[in-house]
Symmetry: C2
Subunit: 174 residues, 2 copies
Amino acid sequence: MSSAAGVLSLLAERGQSLAVAESLTGGLVAAELTSVPGASRSFLGSVTAYATALKRDLLGVDEALLSADGAVHPEVAAQMAAGVRTRMEADWGIATTGVAGPDPQDGQPVGTVFVAVAGPGGTGKVARLRLNGDRSVIRRESVRGVLALLAGELSGDGRAQDTEQNGGNGCLQP
Amino acid sequence: MSSAAGVLSLLAERGQSLAVAESLTGGLVAAELTSVPGASRSFLGSVTAYATALKRDLLGVDEALLSADGAVHPEVAAQMAAGVRTRMEADWGIATTGVAGPDPQDGQPVGTVFVAVAGPGGTGKVARLRLNGDRSVIRRESVRGVLALLAGELSGDGRAQDTEQNGGNGCLQP
């Protein structure tokens, strides 16, 4: 079972819904989830906020944070996940932000990625990934990373096992 | 050059921006566009409105239309494209809605797809695609169809050549 099918199955078992906010993955997380037949039972929708202003306007990310630290920041990932969860009235929200390359962005090197999950009751988690490879690999591994973070939360172990395999440095509380 | 790279190149030449609204393609149109390095010069973002209520809440699609005719309808596609264009303050908006399968939806058979483009000055166009194949093929061909519709508008010929190849029945004015 793919990781997308896995999280959709866990969500369906619980009768819970999911919303997605993406930056560097640019639609790939949503596309991966909706490749699974019956995804609509749990997947509500997604926002790709590629332009920084849309992170503020559509997802409610704090403008001062974006101005001070740029879009590649753990708190931006956390606010994107919480924002899309609220906006779509979902049980869970997940988010990606980072640098897919080929050029550095906001003072961060290519391969710096933050993935976040926001859950019921205001719970949340952010993981930092340090990825190697080209743009395509970094985007793909970011998808794996955010789905692994959600799977960890849904299965109740509270750890993002795959992000460790990807060279992440563990989870930060948002 | 891929069709995504092609439309991004045409947009960059004109200094124009693009926003995307997706239903059955579920993020694939945005993912295809953002696979191109430098996409952020023209691509602002996307909304995947997979749940029907989000087509109304996030994209402004008319609730009476959704209630009466369901989500798989040419006017829904047109309103999704116009809605995301307005919402993201983009020069162009494109949209997909249809039935990827495996099951029929809203009384429409698998493979019924509408793709739409909304441009500067309130211009717009919708094409109906009649696609064969499995869920993956239908989603992929829908991406091709909507990018071809946009490419036709950008290159000024006003026709969506690839939708004809896909067995579309031409373009309807929204």
